[in-house]
Each structure stands twice: as structure tokens, then as C-alpha cells.
């Protein structure tokens, strides 16, 4: 193992940010972006940070003591890296857009309605779906930590857990939307849901125009993760290649 974390540290201190290690400590202030730090994501492949070494040591201690089964860790990682993610939520939204009875069930009691599609469990035990309309836009935040509806959206992105979002969403949500590059009409009311207990909120965005007759799968391709948090909008039909071609 190459121990070059000190060099990485020295190389990558950023003048505007506090000196932190190569594991992305400053990500707590700012979500890492390719624009600012084009190489940060790749260092750990070739050089081991202090945190990488610490986690390896911890896993080996806990395995040796018989507290954890490394195979269980692999299953957990596989679950959240490739099985549970915003595609789940997109299917729920697409169903709500195409099936009025399902939409009613979803808005009345989201947890069983989401369960109908097979999505349930940890960090989604008590889900509430909130619907956007021309008059009302919903946005979800957790100012105290990182509460997020895992069964429908997967693990939260860095920006959702970051200090800027947690600080700004409840005071200046229009400023947050500007950070994401869009704005809403001034007459649209914004309601921000701060997830301070174990209720998990999930936004049902408005169905884009020009999608009449689209199938659920075609519609699901328009539903972005951010549109289900309330920091984005669904894609327009012209943003999805060939999606408008009816099967």
C-alpha cells in the first residue's frame, strides 16, 4: 500500500476552503463539482487517504472480533449502488401520472401505495407524497441531518447533505432553485418540508406538457431525482432522445 496521503493533502488544499484531507472533507461545505475539482474523485483509486486506511483497519478489527460479516457489507453496498435509487421513485411518479386511482392512493397514504410497486423499508417507513401544482411547488430538506426517502430515491446526493442546502432551503428556496438553474413564477407558492422526524417526503412533480399518450416507462424517463426533491423539474419531451416514439 502506498502511503501518500500527506502529499495528496498538501497538493489539494483549496485556498477558499479549510485544510482537510483528500477524502473530500470540504464536501460538507460545498458539494464537489467537476468544475472546481476535476480530479478529486479519482485519487482514491491510486493513493490511499488517511480515511481509506482508517476504514480498512476498522473493517478488519470488526471482522476479526466477529461483529460484522464482510459478505453482508457487500450486499448492502450492492443494494444501494445498483438496486435502490431514483428510478424507483420515477416509476411511482409515472404511475401517478397515468393512473388517477393510483395517484389518489399515493397522495392519501403514500407508504402502501409505494409498496404496491415493491418499494419499502429503511428510511421509507412513513412516506408522505406531496404534489406540485401551478400554484404550489414543494421542496424537501433535512436541516438537522440528511433524512431522505431511500426506498424511492436511494441515498441522498452530496449537495442534499451539504451545509449550503440545509441552511438555505428553509429561508431562500428561490435562491436554491437559482443555484440549480431555474426559477418559478413569482405567484407560485413554495412550501419547504423540513424532515425533522421519521416522516419522509417525496415530491410528485407536474407532468410535462406534450406527453399525452406516453407509456409509464416513457414518462418515467422524464422524471429526474431532483424533480422528486423539488430542486428540479422533469425533463421536457425534447430532452429525451426517442422517448416520444410510442411503442
Amino acid at each position: 500500500m502506498k502511503l501518500q496521503s500527506r502529499r495528496v493533502l498538501a497538493t489539494h488544499n483549496h485556498q477558499r476552503n479549510p485544510p482537510l484531507d483528500s477524502a473530500g472533507g470540504y464536501a460538507y461545505f460545498h458539494a464537489m463539482t467537476d468544475h472546481d475539482h476535476p480530479h478529486d474523485h479519482h485519487h482514491d483509486h491510486s493513493e490511499l487517504s488517511e480515511t481509506e486506511l482508517r476504514v480498512r483497519a476498522l473493517e478488519s478489527i470488526l471482522t476479526e472480533k466477529g461483529y460484522i460479516d464482510p459478505a453482508a457489507l457487500d450486499v448492502l453496498i450492492e443494494t444501494y449502488e445498483s438496486k435502490v435509487g431514483p428510478r424507483n421513485g420515477a416509476q411511482v411518479v409515472a404511475r401517478a401520472w397515468t393512473d388517477p386511482a393510483y395517484r389518489q392512493r399515493l397522495l392519501a397514504d403514500a407508504t402502501p401505495a409505494i409498496g404496491e410497486l415493491g418499494y419499502a423499508g429503511r428510511q421509507g417507513e412513513h412516506i408522505v407524497a406531496v404534489e406540485n401544482t401551478p400554484a404550489l411547488h414543494n421542496m424537501v430538506v433535512c436541516t438537522l441531518c440528511s433524512c431522505y426517502p431511500w426506498p424511492v430515491l436511494g441515498l441522498p446526493p452530496v449537495w442534499y447533505k451539504s451545509a449550503p442546502y440545509r441552511a438555505k432551503a428553509v429561508k431562500d428556496p428561490r435562491g436554491v432553485l437559482a443555484d440549480f438553474g431555474f426559477e418559478l413564477p413569482a405567484a407560485t407558492k413554495i412550501r419547504v418540508w423540513d424532515s425533522t422526524a421519521e416522516i419522509r417526503y417525496f415530491v410528485v412533480p407536474m407532468r410535462p406538457e406534450g406527453t399525452d399518450g406516453w407509456s409509464e416507462d416513457q414518462l418515467a424517463a422524464l422524471v429526474t431525482r431532483d424533480s422528486m426533491i423539488g430542486t428540479g423539474l422533469p425533463k421536457r419531451p425534447d430532452e429525451v432522445q426517442n422517448a416520444g416514439v410510442k411503442a
Binding site: 476479526e64 453482508a72 429503511r122 440549480f180 423540513d194
Partner: protein, 219 residues
Amino acid sequence: MDGAHDMGGVSGFGPVRPEPDEPVFHAPWERRALAITLAMARPGGWNIDTSRFARENRPPADYLGMSYYQIWLAGLERLMQERNLVEADELAAGKALHPPKPVANILTAGDVAAMLHRGGPTERDVTKPALFAVGDRVRARTMHPPTHTRLPRYVRGHLGRIEAVRGVHVFPDSNAHGGGEDPQWLYTVSFNGAELWSDAPDPLLEVTVDAFEPYLEHA
């Protein structure tokens, strides 16, 4: 506790920076940190409220200086040391130096799907009537416990309205500190932006929090 984790309305952090095509994890160690944390809850025997307090209860500079999964790691190490599952000298040495402490149960690969599917529901049976109903005017209490709470600072002392009654749920303020679940009615309470922030940029802003009954009083 009034800690650095309680960020609602704090100025100076700068803009939100979305990351296009963000990966689920940004380094291999983040995968293992997430999985170790989820897996250790079973032999460790702690609950989510205890875990949250272990993460947030640290000097603000430390909290703000760590990445998200570094905070998880710091919280996990604290929980394990408090229960003598792992000792400080072992963490320093990076290897086991003491015999394991007997644990009731560990998470095996075959258990993972069922454990995640079951999750940890917090709703409990109703044993007393709710003090508030939808539409009631309430005030969030001014309270500053040094212990875990889920009433964010930015709503304390402010007038709101009961938006929804969410049933009876495990009370984090008690559950985080070994006081048992002490289930309490949970409400979604809405606040006008102008009530919370005299200088709110958006006059139509409405913010809701989910507040346990002991956090509220009639207004």
C-alpha cells in the same frame, strides 16, 4: 443540543453546488463506511436517535470540517467505544488488541434484504388523545436542551399552524439517551416565511417541520 448540525437559516455557506451525474459514492471507503455503519447497529444495539446524537455532538469546527461519511465514522467509533466493543488503543493501532465482547446477533449477508425491507417503523399505538388538531394555532417552544432534540432552532418561539397529525411516534429526545421510546403525538406544523425570517426573500414562503407534541404549546 444547539449544535453545528442545526443549520436551517444559517448564512455564509455559499451557494448549493449540484454535481452533474453524481456517483452514489465518491471513494471506495465511503461504500464500506456506509455498510459498516448499517451492519454494526445490530450487534451494537443502539437506535437511530442515539446514532444521530453521536454524530452531531461534537465541536462545530469538527462537525463542519468532516465530510458526511467521516461524521458517520466518527459517530460509529464513539458508539462502539462507549460500549467497549472496540477500544481506543485498537482504533489507534488499526488492529484488534482485546478479546471481542459477546454480542447477541450479527447481520449476515442473508439477513440484509429482510432487515432493509423491515426498516425501523417509529409509529406506535395511541394511548392518549392528541392535544392539537389540524388548523390549531401553536407556538414552538423556546427550548435549548443540551441533549438530542429534533426541534430546529429556527422555529423555536415562532407561531405556526397544525397542518397534519401524523400519529404517535418514538420520541427522539428520550430514545437517544436511554430513556425509552416514550411515544408522543407527531404533527406537521407550518410556518409563514415572514414569521420565521423578517427578511425572507419570498413573501409566499411556507416552511413545515414535523414536531413532537412536547415541542408545542397552544397559541
